[in-house]
């Protein structure tokens, strides 16, 4: 069982890494997170200069002023990037005929989905490492003894990894539902756009203004971003991932009925 999952994961990783898309995405993310970091750092320096000797300056938290907003900006990039990474996973297999090999093989539908998802998690992890490198470089060049919160950075990156994994599960489900990679990308992008709209609904206030944002995966990243680990947020991502994988597994199995 594990051997088949690992084999599927390995091939999916090879497929991802032999196309330029993942490298372009990595470069794009690295460039933009670097840009966010520079802008936010400049703002932070200006603020500390403005406050000067004012005791309020002690409340200017480096992580909350720089790292957290950077991570929260990157989540919007994930809305665009992850559907592009996931679109080919199953849809292209059907379009190019290799799905036939898997359908007539000993690979169970859930093993296929698990292997594909594991490969996507490795890619998302790689992207999170790329994003995490720049704050670490900033910490390295900062003055010795400056209070850089490594724990909070790790938590923020963990949140980003969970968000990327959840988006991957949604993208995998979309890719399982069609044989067109473009449609799969469009479908998962629309879903993630809907998540964005749910978050915006919070601006209205009232009952719905409280409920709707809590349903959005984007809102769940906020506590991770400021370095706070909440069991409910982790549980939310786990449930979203499980739902995505279940839809993908059912859809793969359904092909046997529908042809």
């Amino acid at each position: 069982m594990m051997r088949r999952i690992v084999a599927v994961m390995r091939v999916e990783l090879l497929r991802q890494l032999t196309t330029p898309l993942v490298y372009v995405m990595g470069f794009f993310l690295s460039a933009l997170s670097g840009y966010f970091l520079i802008i936010l750092s400049q703002n932070f320096i200006e603020l500390t200069l403005q406050f000067g000797a004012n005791p309020e300056a002690a409340n200017l938290h480096f992580h909350e002023r720089i790292i957290a907003p950077m991570v929260l900006n990157i989540e919007y990039l994930f809305v665009v990037i992850v559907p592009l990474l996931t679109m080919r996973t199953l849809a292209a297999e059907r379009a190019q005929g290799s799905f036939e090999l898997l359908a007539a093989s000993l690979v169970r539908p859930w093993e296929l989905v698990a292997g594909k998802f594991a490969a996507l998690m490795v890619v998302v992890l790689g992207l999170c490492v790329v994003i995490g490198l720049e704050p670490l470089i900033l910490a390295w060049i900062a003055e010795p003894g400056s209070a850089f919160d490594y724990g909070a950075l790790t938590t923020a990156l963990l949140g980003l990894f969970l968000l990327g994994s959840a988006f991957s599960a949604v993208g995998l489900a979309a890719s399982a539902l069609t044989r067109s990679p473009a449609l799969a990308a469009g479908g998962s992008f629309l879903f993630l756009l809907f998540a964005w709209v749910l978050r915006l609904a919070g601006r209205g206030g009232g009952f719905w203004g409280e409920l709707l944002p809590s349903l959005s995966p984007l809102s769940r990243l906020e506590s991770f971003a400021i370095g706070r680990l909440a069991a409910t947020d982790i549980a939310y991502f786990v449930v979203l991932i499980a739902c995505g994988l279940l839809v993908a597994q059912r859809s793969v199995d359904r092909h046997r009925w529908q042809g």
Binding site: R4, V8, L14, T18, Q96, F99, L101, A103, V107
Partner: protein
């Protein structure tokens, strides 16, 4: 080796295969013949368990391909009409992947590479391969694990005459150790490699007989095919 019982499959309102009943003995080389759209590929996909029948069942070595798909699939090597290769992977990577998902020792790859004469193309990508080599790689994937039943869907489709002859020689050599079910619409191929014929037309079986018997009865396989199809269509009308 294969027993089909009242096997039917419909796609929406279209009936692709209707009430197929046949039984194939182990060790035979059987041709599955029919015009384009007759239901050959649909039937083969049901035998491999890749497609569920609307009704009826197929047993492979006693295992129901739908109820016990993994037991049945472990006994089948399948070459679809388009060889199922990953375009991003090299030939040896495709072979190693299929060996892994079949639970076969990686050393088995060497044996099929020798048998299908793929030594020169192991590091090539799919688009760098000729059509003939693509078919050979597809056949090598089907052979991994030495399954007792080989199902080949149009294995010589699109090949030039020299490649066709090479593929036929390979299939003949395989018939000593495997039961082979070969789908084709080329009757010359049937005469060259098969000893039993299943003919299908409009989703219904119109002949299930040894090739020699059909040739004796009708003169040649083409006449046999035309007569059987004409009779079937007259009955349907």
């Amino acid at each position: 080796m294969i027993r089909a019982e009242h096997l039917s499959r419909s796609f929406a309102a279209r009936r692709a295969v209707h009430e197929l009943n046949f039984e194939l003995e182990a060790g035979a080389v059987v041709a599955f013949v029919g015009p384009n759209g007759a239901g050959k590929t649909t039937t083969l996909r049901m035998i491999t368990g890749a497609l569920a029948p609307s009704s009826g069942r197929v047993l492979v070595d006693g295992f129901d391909t739908f109820e016990q798909p993994f037991e049945a699939r472990a006994r089948i090597g399948f070459l679809p009409e388009t060889p199922p290769l990953y375009p991003e992977l090299r030939v040896h990577e495709n072979l190693r992947f299929v060996a892994a998902i079949k639970g076969v020792d990686p050393s088995a790859v060497t044996a099929v590479v020798e048998r299908c004469e793929l030594g020169d193309v192991l590091n090539q990508l799919q688009h760098q391969l000729s059509k003939g080599y693509r078919q050979r790689v597809g056949l090598a994937l089907a052979l991994l694990g030495e399954p007792p039943l080989l199902i080949l869907d149009e294995p010589t489709s699109g090949l030039d005459p020299a490649q066709i002859e090479g593929m036929r020689a390979l299939i003949r050599s395989l018939s000593q150790e495997h039961t082979v079910l070969l789908s084709t619409h080329l009757l010359s191929e049937v005469e060259a490699v098969c000893d039993h014929v299943l003919m299908i037309d409009q989703g219904k079986l119109v002949a299930d007989a040894p090739a020699a018997e059909l040739i004796t009865e009708h003169g040649d396989l083409q006449k046999a095919f035309l007569v059987r199809c004409a009779v079937h269509r007259r009955e349907q009308a």
